[in-house]
């Protein structure tokens, strides 16, 4: 897999956004960002309302995903271009989610909404009207999603990458610094996890670093490229960004995102926890 299979740049979007079979989708952490302005032709997916089960802590099921994409006018063979703010944080999460349900042609706009905005490219408020489709999803791909028991079993044997900020890794913060620090679970990290903050994979403009720079980043942190990997963060979004880097950009074969992440692990009874800074 090469970068051109999974990434497009802004010029590509401006040249191809009206092509049949190309659908732009904005997925933002700030779910109101789309309403204030978006790339012309883009539809919106709300990471919370659209992608999470409203009752249980889990994703919408296969039928729910089919209904969502059908309503948005997305077909199985469409090329979906995802973008969002904050270095594509939630767009990368949606990318992983689309892959989880078997969508083949999906790419990220490198740099996402931030680079688009900082380059002063056009944003519009007009919402496109797309005809409904009959989308068919596949069963979830268990090879890219990790659950808690796998994480405990991976301690000391697989790469565990904690992609939160150093202060969250150490246990000094329980959430990213733009959210209130009031979670109930314990602070710290999974023993033997390496701390490679997700944001280190991105340049300041939100684009991904080069493959060489990425390999150096993870290699220097102690990640073994010959071993399977599980990435986690607080609720599984930032680690989806790292999953994208490891699996889609660097082509590592066995990489899973643990979407339960610290809000689940840090609340489990009896599991080992380490605190303090990375050595």
């Amino acid at each position: 897999m090469s970068r051109s299979d999974v990434l497009v740049d802004a010029n590509w979007v401006e040249a191809h956004r009206d092509d049949p079979g190309v659908v732009l989708v904005e997925v933002d952490e700030d779910t109101s960002a789309y309403d204030k302005g978006h790339i012309r032709g883009a539809v919106k997916i709300d990471w919370k309302k659209d992608l999470q089960d409203p009752v249980r802590r889990d994703f919408v099921d296969r039928g729910g995903f089919e209904k969502l994409l059908s309503e948005r006018g997305i077909s199985n063979d469409d090329t979906v271009i995802l973008y969002g703010g904050n270095n594509n944080w939630f767009a990368a999460y949606a990318y992983w989610y689309f892959r989880l349900y078997g969508h083949q042609n999906v790419k990220l706009l490198d740099g996402g909404r931030k680079k688009w905005e900082l380059d002063s490219r056009e944003l519009v408020t007009e919402v496109p009207q797309r005809s409904a489709t009959s989308y068919k999803a596949k069963e979830q791909d268990a090879s890219i999603r990790a659950f808690r028991d796998e994480v405990v079993a991976a301690i000391g044997s697989k790469n565990l990458i904690d992609v939160r900020s150093p202060d969250e890794f150490a246990g000094r913060l329980l959430a990213p610094a733009h959210l209130p620090q009031e979670q109930a679970q314990r602070g710290g990290h999974v023993p033997t996890a390496k701390n490679v903050p997700w944001s280190k994979a991105a340049e300041e403009d939100g684009t991904f670093k080069s493959d060489d720079a990425l390999r150096t980043l993870y290699g220097d942190a102690g990640v073994d490229f010959g071993t399977d990997t599980i990435a986690y963060c607080r609720i599984g979004e930032r680690s989806a960004h790292t999953w994208f880097v490891m699996h889609e950009l660097l082509g590592q074969p066995n990489v899973k995102n643990y979407d339960g992440s610290w809000t689940e692990y840090g609340s489990l009874v009896g599991v080992p926890i380490a605190v303090g800074d990375a050595s």
């Binding site: 933002d28 952490e29 700030d30 779910t31 109101s32 960002a33 204030k36 919370k48 703010g85 904050n86 270095n87 931030k114 905005e117 900082l118 380059d119 002063s120 900020s165 150093p166 202060d167 000094r172 913060l173 959430a175 990213p176 610094a177 733009h178 959210l179 209130p180 620090q181 009031e182 903050p197 944001s199 280190k200 300041e204 607080r234 609720i235 979004e237």
Partner: protein, 111 residues
């Protein structure tokens, strides 16, 4: 700490991981160590841009889009932080700031 302070901090953000883009400044920090402020250019709010928080080692900690009023807010830990404002036109401006529990560190950033 009063219950009102908790409510003030809690109401300021969406549940989960939703980014509180801008929004009304919090008047009472409760038990949080808040860094917040407003970005202006020639006296007018900068509504398109980003505020980024870096730790004392220069590492990215968090980033939020600026609000309609140029506002931003972070819930940090006590200590010294660097705020970086990114805006169209290649603007990148840094400010150092000290956060303390129960306090609001207020910044006015002119770019």
């Amino acid at each position: 700490m009063s219950g009102g302070a908790e409510a003030a901090a809690g109401q300021a953000v969406a549940e989960g991981c939703g980014a509180p883009a801008g929004g009304a400044p919090i008047k009472d920090a409760g038990n949080q160590a808040i860094v917040q402020g407003r970005v202006t250019k020639e006296g007018a709010p900068v509504a398109v841009g980003y505020a980024r928080l870096l730790n004392s080692g220069g590492d990215f900690v968090a980033e939020v889009p600026l609000g309609e009023d140029g506002g931003f807010r972070f819930f940090a830990a006590p200590g010294t932080w660097r705020l970086r404002v990114l805006a169209p036109g290649g603007i990148s401006t840094d400010r150092d700031v000290t956060a303390a529990t129960g306090k609001i560190a207020e910044l006015e950033v002119a770019v």
